[in-house]
Structures are given as C-alpha cells and as structure tokens.
Assembly symmetry: C2
Homo-oligomer: 317 residues x 2
DNA sequence: TTGAAAGCGCTAACAA
DNA sequence: TTGTTAGCGCTTTCAA
C-alpha cells in the first residue's frame, strides 16, 4: 500500500502540504527553486499518490463493476477482453465479480464495492428477486442482454437478425429442408422471420428437434438429425454444433457436402474446427463502445439500446 | 455512488455519528430501543457503508490487481475464472488490467490503482525495464510463471513434467518415431527428460520440426510431418495441434490410428475437437490456491514456488 | 508565493 | 449509555 504521503514530503521539505501538492500537480503559485526541490525529494522518497483518498475527496471513481458468467470461457471472455481494453483507454478499470448464487451473496458483493464503483455492468440474467434487491443499491446498473434493473439502463441483443441471415444464406445455397436444433426462443424468432420473408416457392421444408444447448446435446441428436434427411441444420450454440460435427465425423458424414451446419456465438473453437463453423456473431464492439460511453459520461438515467447480431459464413455452410 | 451517510442518519435520528455507527456495527453500549430505531431509519433511508472510506481509515484493501494476457481467450481465461471465484470466497475482488504496452502506460495504470490494491498478480512476461520500474512501486507483485519482480514473489510452472509424461505415454503405446513440433525450450526440456529416462531399447527415434505455435503453423507443417513417417507428434500448443488436426482431416489422415497427437495447454477447443486432443494441463487449482493464500495473509516478503504440469490422455493419443 | 484549515465518509480512542 | 474528536491521504478555498 502507498506508504509515503504528502505530509511526509512536506515535513522533509520543511514546508506545507499545500505547497507540496502544488509542486506535484504542476500548479501555479510556487517558486521554481522550491518546486524543483520538492519534485526531487518526492521522487527520491518514492512518493505515490493515494488515488483512493483522492477519489474519496473528489467523490469520483475510476472503477467499473463487471458481473460475468460463471464460465468465463466462450463469448463472454471475448466480450470482456474487448471491454477491458476500451475501459482502460478511457481511464477506467473493471472490478470483476462472479454472478451471485443468491440474494445474500449479491448484496454482500455490491456493498463491498460501494464507494469504489458507480456503474456495474451485468452480463448475467438475474432473478426478479435479485433485480429488485439491486435497484435499492446505490450503484447504477447496465444490464447487457437481459432484463434491466429498474432505474438502470439496458443494452439488448437482437439475436434473430443474424439467425435470419444465416437461414436465408442456406436457402440461397439451395437447401430444401432445414431443421432447427435446440430450444432457445430467440433463435426460433430468427428462423420464423426468414421463413416469413420467403415466397412459397422458395420456402424450405422446416422442422425442429428439441434439445439442450451443449456439446453433448449436439452429439446426441446426430442420429435423429441424419435420419430426418435434412440439407442443413441450425444449432442454438456453437458448442452444440461442434458436438454434431463430432457425430458426423465419427459416422463419416460430410459437412457441408451432405449437411450444412450453422452455429451461434462465434466461439473460438468454431473458427478452428473441421470444417470451420459458420455462425452468428454477437455485436461485441458496438455494445462495448456504448458501455464505455455511458460510464465516461456518468449517464445515470434509465435508457435502453438494441444491437443486432450478424451471420458469418465459413466452411460448414 | 453511496449517497446516504452516517452523518445524515445521525441528524435524522437526532443523535451522534458514533451512536449510529454503534447501532450499525452491532457494538455494545447502546440501548435496545435506540438501536432498533436507528436500524430502521438506516434501512428506510437506504444506507450503504462507503467501503472506500472505511478502507482508507483502516488502511485495508479488498481488491487485488490482476494483469493478464492481451488475449483473454484460452488458458488465461480458465485461470482467471478460477482465481476470481477463489478470491471472492476470501472476500477479495480482482481489478483487471491489460498487459501494458510500455513503461509509461504500466506506471500510469498501477498508479491509478494505488491505495486500492496491495497485491498485483502478473500473468504476463514483462521486459526488464518494466520489472525494474515496478519494483519501485508500492504494490507487492506476484508473478505467475515469469521472471519475478525484485522483492516480489513468484510462482513458476514446470512445463517439462507434463510433457515428459506425455512422451512416456506415447512410448508405452508403442510409438517408435516421435517428432517435436514447435520452438519452446520449456517443451523440449520435457522431451529430453523422457528420452533420458528410457533405456536404449525403449527409446524411440526422435526429431524436431521448427515452427510457430499457432493454428496456422500446425496446419502448415502437416505435410512435412506426414512425410517424415512418424507415428506420433508433440506440439507446443493445443492451437497448433488443432491446426495439424485440420490438415490431417483434409488429407484423410487418421488420428490417432496413423499418427498420435499431443498438444499443450488443455484448451477448451481441444476437448471438443475431432478427435479430442490429448494434452498437457497447467496446475491451475494449486497455483490459484497459493495466490489467495498469499493475498489473505498479506505476505509481502519475496518467496518462490514451483508447480507441475500434468498429462491428460484423450482420443488423439 | 505560501499555508491553515475544512472536509470526503468512516473508525475508534477517549471522555463524559 | 452517549458524544467529542482525531485522523486515514487527499484537494481546495480562503486568508496571509
């Protein structure tokens, strides 16, 4: 912890705190000789300003709370990485917290942050109970992608836009029978939009396999999917699509020749898979820009913004 | 930011700050009736203690600086994820910083943290210039895996142990000709140790392909590696091994039937690849335990500790 | 040009 | 049982 203080320098220089402060801050109203002397002394003594004390005095904060996913791997890690860089460029640093298990833990964590943090970015869906609890806390909440805290601002993601483009891409590539695998309503909405946009002649046959959204789930539905005789499948997540890729690899099914595959999330693993996975990407840059803007300008009113996902075509479709 | 203060409650309750403080802290020396009244008032007014002020007064800190990799994806993200959880359980929260580009930026960042943070965990190799600079700062540095800051403590990883076990595993599986692909000395050391440990009869033929350590590099050396007629290859990183997997997939080479493959890092992508990648894992749990221990006990003396990597056998070898 | 002093919100020794 | 007060390290107003 900071160890040498203004006072100590003042004593050593046989002057007042105010004068030392002037010298250090490069302010007017101090003789050149004295300034130089103090500066040298400060550097010799290894002075470091205590920003915590400064912020207390100035009622400022240079930290931003970030509450993330349990599993930092995956999309969240890329989002966070980008956010950290942008915040840093603006002179802010993130304080990281895991999403709370219960109301108690959550309250405790945020109280530990109080006085340090004005804004908290929430990358996590929270129970209504928790959201109510939070709205009574002094911080301003920026919810990413989920229900906003009352009085907080929210940035949401339109997942359907990228899915729609993906499906249209499949149709343009000649697919006649497309299945949706998974269970997330946000994805289905994209599917629907694409189908609605197509004429009766263009519209492919469409089906749905209900399934979980992890690697193993994608693997598990492999045989059903193949049995259905589809041209193409859209999966709720990349992990899931990767699971299906594993299935088709084991059973000698060629992707995309026999069946085209699209995932969702733009995970790193999908960029490196065989074949490389076509996917839907989150609007990371745009959202993070907005977050930094809100933090910098200390916007504390409730607002909301929406951002669109986009389709990325790679080897699998 | 916290908005209602002890003073405000004191005024509202028509008493002194000290009494309010006693009530809130559950301390002795206050009448039951008064305590109850104050507690109710505080909750009605939405009081939140300002921890920044408390810490300033108590000369304490509940944050830990963490300087990470540029790219938070990969091993680092898993390490960080685990560390955040452990720190939180101990009542600490990480402040995240990107590894600095230059001495200026680094100094600036750490100065912004002063007063908030006693310990800074460094997950990044730093130039000697930077390390010297840091040793003059008030924080205590815990270097993970790299040259330590003078007066700091360091936790290092013995990468060779896991590599050695991987190679021995290959030999036990009957491999007669093994190549090392990459360029990292830490990996070669493991190879050497394995070869030294084997008798002349057991020792496989051994070769080396010099290469970069990314996905594309692994792909690029595919043809050379196949041409060499090896039955197993060890790659410096999982990304690289994944690149080779892509090559072999494209050229219809069966892994592990024709060639066994081992990577390094235990990346998520390698758990999901086809085939699942055998790899060498970092000692994440043990290291993070030690970090939390150091932070909790406010160990400020220079120390060093070493941790071992371990081999994980999956489908590719 | 220089310094005394108040105060950010909190804790705790000490006095009443 | 209650209150006064000093002080953590800093900034800044105001007076000298």
């Amino acid at each position: 912890m900071a160890t040498v203080t203004l006072k100590q320098i003042a004593i050593a220089a046989n002057t007042s705190i105010r004068t030392v402060n002037r010298a250090l801050k490069g302010q007017q109203g101090i003789g050149e000789a004295k300034r130089k002397e103090i500066l040298e002394l400060a550097s010799k003594m290894g002075y470091t300003p205590n920003i915590a004390a400064r912020n207390l005095r100035l009622q400022r904060s240079n930290f931003v709370g970030v509450i993330g996913y349990k599993n930092i791997d995956g999309v969240f890690s890329r989002r966070l990485n980008d956010l950290v860089q942008r915040l840093e460029a603006a002179g802010f640093y993130p304080i990281l917290g895991m999403p709370p298990e219960n109301v108690e833990d959550c309250r405790k964590m945020l109280l530990e942050w109080s006085g340090f943090v004005k804004h908290v970015v929430l990358f996590q869906s929270l129970s209504e109970e928790l959201r109510n609890e939070l709205s009574s806390l002094p911080q301003h909440f920026i919810s990413i992608d989920y229900e906003s805290i009352s009085d907080g601002t929210s940035l949401t993601i339109d997942r359907s836009s990228g899915v729609k483009d993906g499906i249209l891409h499949l149709v343009k590539s000649g697919c006649k029978k497309i299945f949706w695998c998974g269970k997330l309503a946000s994805r289905e909405e994209g599917l629907r939009k694409a189908l609605d946009e197509l004429s009766d002649a263009e519209r492919p046959e469409y089906g749905h396999i209900q399934a979980g959204i992890n690697f193993d789930d994608g693997y598990a539905i492999g045989s059903d999917l193949i049995a259905s005789g589809v041209d193409a499948a859209f999966f709720d997540t990349d992990r899931m699509a990767l699971g299906f890729l594993k299935y088709s690899w084991r059973h000698n099914i060629k992707v995309p020749e026999q069946i085209k595959v699209i995932g969702f999330d733009n995970d790193t693993a999908g960029q490196q898979s065989c074949p490389a996975l076509s996917t839907v990407a989150h609007p990371i840059d745009e959202m993070n820009n907005k977050i930094v803007e809100l933090v910098e300008n200390a916007h504390l009113e409730a607002q909301s913004f929406e951002f669109k996902t986009s389709f990325i075509s790679r080897e699998s479709a």
